[in-house]
Each structure stands twice: as C-alpha cells, then as structure tokens.
C-alpha cells in the first residue's frame, strides 16, 4: 500500500463526516469526534506499512524519505491530539458556535492533516503551494470557528488577511524563482543555483520572497505580529493545532526549500544563510522578551511559540557539518518532536481551565497545585521543558541548536539565543510559581477526566524519556535519507 492512500483516505473521511453532519443533524458530536479519532488512529497504525512506491506519474512531485515519513507521523499525531482536545473542550466551545455544534471542528482537522502529510513529501514548489493552501484555508475556518466570540472572529479576520497576503508573496517568489531557474522542482532549483550562469539577483529576489512568505506561516519576526492576537482569539484546540501542526508544516517546506537554496555551490547560499541568522536572532528575541510581560498564559504561549520558531530558524542556518550526525533538517525535526508534547500539554492545561470555568490569565493559575496536583505537576514538567530545563526534552532540542551555532562560530546569533532562553526561564517559571502559590485562593477542586490524565501522562513520559534518552529518535532521524524512496 502506498502512503498516498492514507493521505487521500483522511481527506475523504473528512468530507464524509462533513456530509453526515449536514444530512443527519441529530448525530451526536461524540460519535463524530470518536469516528474522526478512530480514523486518524487507524492511519497512524497503517503508516509504517506504507512503504510501497507511488505510481510513477506521481513521483516527480512526491517523495518518501525519512524526513517525509517523520513529518507524516507528526501530522497524524498532532491531529489526533487536537481532535481529542476538541472533544474535551466541547462543552465549553459549543457555547460560542452558532448552532451549538462542532461538526467542522472534527472534519477540517482531517483535511489539514492530509494537507500536511502531502506537504511533507512535496518535491516541487507547486505541490508545496497546493498543500499549503489546503492547510491554510482550512485554518481560516477553524480559527474563526467560535463565531459568537468577538475574539475568535477578530482572530479569524486577522489570520485571513495576513495569510492571504503571505500567500501572495509566496506565489510571487515562486514565479521569480521559476523565472530565474526555469524549474519548479527543488532538485532542479538546487542544480540551477549551482550554475554560475544563473542570474543571481533574480534568484535572490525570488528566494527572499519565498522565505518571507514562509516566514509568515512559521511566525518568524518581523512577520510575527499576527501570532499573539490570533493564538489568543482562536479556540484553544485550534491554537494548539496552529502552534504545532501549522508550524511543523511550515518548517518542513522551509527545510526542503533551503536544501535547494543552500545546495553545494549555490550562488545565493551566503546571503540566504545570513538572512536566516538575522531573522532567527530577531525572532528569538522578539518572541521571548515581550513574553516576559504577558499576563495571559495563552498569549504567553503564543510569544513562546514565536521564540521557538526562532530557534528552529537558527538551526536551519547551520548546514550539515562533519562533527554532527544530524543534518540541520534533522535537528529541526528533532526539535519539533520535543516541541509537540510540551506545547500540547500547555494547551491541554489551558483548555481544561476553560472547561472548568476559569480564565487564561496567570493569576487564574494561582493555586492550581491545590486544585489538581496531577495537572499542576504535568504542566510544571511541560513548562520546565519549554524553558529548556536539563533532563527534559526541551533541553536536548536547545542543546542541539546551541551546539550547532557554536560549532559554526555564529556567536552573535548564539548570544541572542542564550538571552532568549534566559528570558524564557523567567516567564515559564513565573507561571509555575503561580501554580504552587497557595495564599489567597479559593480551592475548588478541578476535575480531570481519566482519558485526559492518561493522554497527559503519556505526553509527560515522552518529554522525560526524550530528555534522558534521545538516542532512538536521533537514530530514526539520521537513518540514510532515502531509505524508503521509490526506485
């Protein structure tokens, strides 16, 4: 069976759920949600058995290397978690939807997932564009889903306008690159850029536009302005999806595009690398420093996600070296794998707070340890990992980035990253401290369903295991890049 079956199957399931909801309005949201979850889980189980080559006519656009396979798994896992989070938050979310239903909240993520999986395999810019739009357009709907909430609507409009703008820039860049190199495929672009006869200024202009367009998608500074508002306004499960899924999708495309732009002998590699270093340094700082002054945890997590994007950009700036087994793409994949559990845990905490009628401000977290010690411990570990505390997954990810930067001698960028990490310690621990503060809080207990406990427990375990034993994941990511690619 080829992996395309799964991608098509998930999109199809999404469409079917949409139709069922439309024609059978009395169907319970639990059934819909559980069907979606079951379908995604089934896809995850099937994924390892999907090594069969694609039909030959698809191969020019679609490849299946380790990285693609990793990101496909990643997309399925985050979709699964988001669907489950939606079910958990459903009673609260339905208060803000027009008809008190959540149907599209269960079908659209499946379509997003399909788009992200497709994107992970993209071999040329057209495929990237189509897959990216599939994801982004679905997100426009998801962000504005809680239509009765003004914040959600505002977030939706902001996201739509800036998303459309960035898409325009991206397409414009693709056109310029096509003009400069005469091809759309990453491989071809890499080859053309290595040819000194290619017009450097044209290629550079195109590459800059593409990087700016993708910069919007991954929330790189100075294109990050939309993030705090959109993340804060969107329903919490969607925020988690945006912050992990959409970001990962942006980074897999960036990884592929940069493989072409920074190919050996590329005429624009110096400039692109400098661009990445500057953008990355800016992003870590502009993400981390404002985060110190946030009072809303959701907004704080939005800024933190900007700063994490900065670390990832800095990782991309470090091209492969002999001293390091992981390529820069591998480091990014590793970092995202550590980023998934800790971020989802953070949003899970937020979602549960909301579901229990509490707010999203740091002061609402006061005394959480008394209300629900388990949840407080889980969130402590997640925040500690986001801060990059040793022995948690977050530290290993940061360690790779820092060592890579030091190994290349990018001292300026390294110091920006260290400053941002130090600021990170401040704002994450400010929140942790609030959770354990006891005075002046009424201590109504906060309930946590067994399923939530189990899922959160697994995520915590992943954080801790990756923190002390990252070897297996590193092995997976360093496996020779084209093991499963079709002959």
């Amino acid at each position: 069976m080829s992996v395309f079956t799964i991608e098509a199957g998930l999109a199809l399931l999404g469409l079917v759920l949409l139709l069922v909801e439309a024609f059978k309005p009395d169907i319970s949201r639990r059934t819909l949600g559980l069907t979606a979850i079951a379908g995604t889980a089934f896809a995850l189980v099937l994924l390892p058995f999907c090594g069969a080559p694609l039909p030959s006519f698809m191969q020019p656009w679609h490849q299946l290397d380790t990285l693609a396979l990793f990101y496909k798994g990643f997309a399925i896992v985050i979709t699964l978690l988001v669907l489950w989070l939606t079910l958990e938050c459903a009673p609260y979310l339905t208060r803000f939807t027009v008809d008190g239903k959540l149907a599209e909240m269960f079908s659209l993520p499946l379509i997003v997932c399909s788009g992200m999986m497709w994107m992970a395999s993209a071999r040329d810019l057209v495929t990237v564009f189509v897959a990216l739009e599939l994801v982004t357009v679905s997100f426009y709907v998801l962000v504005a889903f809680a239509r009765k909430s003004a914040f959600s609507l505002e977030a939706g409009v902001k996201y739509l306008i800036l998303g459309a703008l960035s898409t325009g820039i991206l397409v414009y860049g693709i056109a310029w690159i096509y003009g400069a190199t005469g091809t759309m495929s990453f491989e071809g672009i890499g080859k053309a850029l290595a040819n000194p006869a290619t017009s450097k200024s044209t290629a550079l202009f195109g590459a800059a536009l593409i990087l700016c367009g993708l910069g919007f998608k991954v929330a790189a500074a100075p294109f990050h302005m939309w993030v705090p508002d959109v993340y804060q306004g969107a329903p919490t499960p969607v925020t988690a999806f945006l912050s992990v899924g959409s970001k990962a999708a942006g980074f897999v495309v960036l990884t592929r595009a940069l493989e072409a732009f920074l190919a050996t002998g590329s005429i624009i590699s110096t400039e692109v690398q400098a661009f990445l270093l500057v953008i990355g340094s800016l992003t870590v700082l502009l993400g981390s420093l404002p985060a110190m002054f946030q009072t809303s945890v959701k907004r704080l997590l939005a800024y933190s996600s900007i700063s994490h994007a900065g670390y990832l950009l800095l990782a991309l700036a470090c091209s492969e070296t002999a001293r390091f087994e992981l390529s820069s793409g591998g480091i990014v994949a590793f970092y995202l794998a550590t980023y998934l559990p800790m971020t989802v845990l953070g949003f899970l905490g937020l979602g549960l707070m909301r579901a229990n009628g509490l707010g999203e401000d740091i002061k609402d977290f006061t005394g959480l340890a008394k209300r629900n010690p388990t949840l407080a411990l889980f969130m402590t570990i997640s925040f500690a990992s986001l801060a990059g505390l040793p022995l948690t997954a977050g530290f290993i990810g940061k360690l790779f980035v820092f060592l890579g930067l030091a190994d290349h001698g990018y001292w300026g960028a390294l110091s920006c990253a260290v400053i941002a990490a130090a600021a990170g310690f401040y704002y994450y621990f400010k929140t942790i401290l609030a959770m354990y503060t006891t005075e002046g809080v009424e201590t109504t207990a906060l309930t946590l369903s067994t399923a939530s406990k189990a899922v959160a427990g697994v995520l915590v375990l992943i954080i801790l295991i990756l923190g002390v034993y990252p070897k297996p994941l590193q092995k997976v990511l360093t496996a020779s890049p084209a093991v499963v690619s079709a002959k």
């Binding site: 401040y426 005075e439 002390v468 990252p470």
Partner: protein
C-alpha cells in the same frame, strides 16, 4: 549496574513515592538512611582500591554528540557524596509537622546534588545541578520565612543570579566541549575530555580565558564575591531543610566543578597571572568584606548566611594555590563547612520556630533551659570558627599551609599576601560567632523568651552532624586517605 546509580536514584524515587502518596516521613528517612549506608559502603570499598575512578558504568544516551549517563567516583566525589547523604539525612530528620513538599524538595535537592557529584558526563553533571536548583527556588518563594512579597523578591534574586551564573557556566562548558572534543565528534565524557586535554593542551592564553569563564560561572553558584549578594537573603529566608541542603551541599557544586572540570582540563589556566590575581582579589572580598558584613549582622540567620558566604573564600584560596595539600585541604573544608553550616542552620530553624525572633538584642540566657541545644550549637559555632579538634580546623590549616609555599624572605608574592590577609578572617569569625553565642545563650535570661531542648529523637540528627565534625576533626586522615592522589 553500579552502586552509584542506586545512590543517585534512591532519593529521587523516594520523592516520587512521597508525591504518589507513600508515608512521607518513613519513606524519606528510610531512603536517606539506606543512602548513607550505601555511600559508606562505597567509601570503604574505595579505600581499598587504587586511586582513580571506581564503580564506573556508562549508558549511552546519544552517540553524536556523545552523551552518556556515566557514573563514577573518586575520593573527592565520594567525600562530597558522604557530605550529601549526611546532610540530607539530617535535613529530612529534623522536619516536624510540615507539608509533604518539604520532604519532596529535600529529597530532590539531595538527589540532584548526589547526581552532580557522582556522574562523569558534563551534560549530566550540569543537568543534575539544575534539577536541584528548581526546588530550592520554589521552596524559598512558597514556604520562605517572610511575607509573600519579600520572599518572592528574595527567590527571584537568587533565581536571576543563579540562572545567569548557570548560563555563563553553560557557555564555559560548551566551550570546553568544543575545544577538547577533538577529532570527528563532540563528546561530553569528562574522561575523554581530560585525555584530550593531556594529549593536546591548549595555548596558555586560551586556557586562561576558558578558566575565567568557568570561574565566573561556577563562582556565582558558590557566591564568589562580587556575585554573592543573592546568597545571604536566600539562606536567611529559605525553609530550614532547604537552607541546610543548599548552603551545606548544593553550593559546593561550584567548587567541585572547578576541581573536577576546570583544574584538570586547564591546568595552566588557573596559574596565569591575571586570572590568579582576579581570583585572589575576589576571594579576599569574600573573606574580608563579607567578614565585616557578618560582624555587623544583628540577627542569627543573617550572621550564619553571611558567614557561609565568607567561608567560601578559604576554599577558593585552596583552589588558587593549587598545591596538593591546599587542594586536599579545600575539599576537607568543603566537607567540614557543609556539615557545620547545616548543623547551625538546622538549630537556627528550631530557634526561630520556638522563639519567633532571632534578633540578638531580644535574646539571652537560653542555655539555662536548653543545655543540650546549647552544646550542639557550640559544636557548630566552634567548628565554624576553626577550633582545633573539629573538622574545619584541619581543612583551614591545610589550605593556609598549602598556600604559603615557596616563601623567600623579602619576596612576598600576591598569594602570600592573600594568605596573610585571609588569616584575619579567622579572627573575624571568632568575633561574630562568639558574640552570637554569648548573646543568645549566656547572659541574663530576663528577656521573657526561653526555649526548651528538643526531645531526644529530634536531637539525633544534630548529634549526627556534631559527631561527624568531631570525628573528622580528630581523624582527618579518614577523608584524606579516601581522596588519595585524586588531586
């Protein structure tokens, strides 16, 4: 499986068990008792072995960069492990009527310190220390002995200082790893780094630079002047077991790191003139400036907290001299200071609980109703002054004698001058400790405040520490033999 792994894991597992609901006191006391027994067993075994690392065992965590959970101990690490297990036992033992978090945090701090002393991989040495710092901050902020705003301010001050120190330290360690990894891949294994350092020593100027960075990083953690101002308020505010464990044990981590990492890897770095002069100036700051500050303190907790900063100066003096006798004396002094300050902070905590104040002008004549308590306090106070027969004396004598070498009449080096000036510190110690002792325990008892002796079972932890001071003071060879030629 090495015995050291059990020693590291036991307190951490006990903390987990207490969190999960095991009887707090029984589990903590049991674990710390067994731990002390295991450390004693390991020390006795080690005494019969040749010098060098023993009980080694490595579990690979990452292959490239090479990181492994590698344990191993020599005489120095065993001495500090012995200190840790003694103080941890006493700290847990003296807890009375406190929430479980007191037990959990004590076990975490102790277990973290144990891990830092007994692992031989730079990554884990650093990681375990950070692990131990987190509960320290949280406990000061949440259960400190001041009003909420003030203890939070104190906790933040300590966090910012120690966080910044840790980042400088991380930079220094990363520099070490990059310089000494050699060849094709990065390694964090201390032995490998050491071998590489012997094989291809760095140019002296570069050694000096790296050593200085490490000195600033480790130094901040040990409250080296002028990076000391976090320490006194933190100890004065910290809950008793945390003050005992941090000032007694965890603070020694910085010194241990200098002995274990900086000196062997950069043997000439410490002897370069500008580095040595800077270190001598800073340690004189510790001894003379902090000595005067301590004399001016008018509360017992202030006196103890400042004196603990001051006494670090002697240990730094031993490191600055770098002779075998001075270094062994420094390690002995680390042990002695750890035991004596833990004893004093433990007793000080009891006094505060019973009396509600520690100001000298409100206390007096306490000895009449609490003779046993007075004797125990006298052990700590006299040890701290450096009375012969108690452990600190042996360490101080060795440091002074080992530092005042190569003396030619009329030609005093900077080191000699430092020793001469540092000797005045002993006088200052006598002034403030004897004054404190007289004010509190002797004189008229007409202040209306009096305290009673603790019941026998609550005396035991302090008796344990006092007996340790006496035994190692009369027979310092017990520890010196253990250290062998590790230095």
């Amino acid at each position: 499986m090495s015995v050291l792994e059990i020693i590291i894991a036991l307190p951490l597992l006990a903390a987990l068990a207490v969190w999960l609901g095991a009887p707090a006191r029984a589990a903590s006391l049991g674990a710390t008792f067994v731990n002390l027994a295991l450390v004693l067993y390991a020390s006795v075994q080690y005494a019969a072995k040749p010098a060098g690392l023993a009980f080694t065992n490595a579990r690979v965590v990452l292959e490239n960069p090479a990181i492994s959970f590698a344990v191993g101990a020599d005489g120095v690490s065993l001495t500090l492990a012995l200190l840790t297990s003694l103080v941890m036992l006493a700290a847990v033992w003296q807890i009375e009527d406190r929430p479980n978090i007191f037990y959990i945090s004590s076990l975490l701090i102790g277990g973290g310190a144990m891990g830092a002393f007994l692992t031989t991989d730079v990554f884990f040495i650093y990681a375990f220390h950070e692990l131990a710092l987190i509960p320290t901050f949280l406990m000061i902020a949440l259960h400190g002995r001041a009003d909420a705003a003030q203890r939070k301010a104190v906790a933040w001050k300590a966090t910012i200082y120690l966080g910044a120190g840790s980042l400088v330290l991380l930079a220094g360690l990363a520099w070490v790893v990059l310089e000494f990894s050699g060849g094709s891949k990065l390694t964090f294994d201390l032995e490998a780094l050491r071998n590489q350092a012997q094989l291809t020593p760095l140019p002296v100027a570069k050694q000096a630079q790296i050593f200085f960075v490490l000195l600033l990083g480790f130094g901040t953690l040990v409250s080296l002047f002028p990076f000391h101002s976090w320490a006194a308020p933190a100890y004065a505010t910290a809950p008793t077991p945390v003050a005992m464990l941090h000032s007694g044990v965890l603070k020694k981590f910085g010194l241990y790191g200098l002995i274990r990492i900086a000196l062997p890897l950069l043997p000439q770095g410490a002897q370069v003139e500008w580095v040595q002069n800077a270190l001598l100036l800073m340690l004189l700051g510790n001894i003379l400036v902090m000595g005067l500050v301590t004399i001016h303190a008018n509360r017992l907790d202030d006196t103890l907290a400042n004196s603990s900063v001051m006494h670090m100066g002697y240990i730094f003096l031993g490191l600055a001299a770098g002779t075998e006798i001075a270094l062994k004396g420094a390690v002995l002094l680390m042990f002695a200071h750890g035991v004596s300050i833990a004893l004093l902070f433990g007793l000080c905590g009891r006094m505060r609980n019973q009396l509600g104040t520690l100001e000298y002008n409100k206390l007096g004549g306490l000895a009449t109703h609490a003779p046993a308590f007075t004797v125990l306090f006298a052990f700590g106070a006299f040890a701290s002054i450096g009375l012969p027969g108690l452990a600190n004396f042996a360490g101080e004598v060795m440091v002074f004698a080992g530092s005042f070498t190569e003396f030619k009449a009329g030609e005093l080096s900077n080191l000699h001058w430092t020793v001469i000036l540092a000797l005045w510190g002993v006088v200052m110690s006598a002034v403030y400790m004897l004054r404190a002792y007289r004010n509190i325990f002797h004189g008229s008892a007409n202040t209306g405040l009096f305290m009673t002796d603790p019941v026998f079972s609550q005396r035991l932890p302090f008796i344990l520490l006092a007996a340790t001071l006496l035994v190692t003071g009369c027979c310092p060879w017990l520890l010196l033999n253990l250290m062998k030629s590790a230095l």
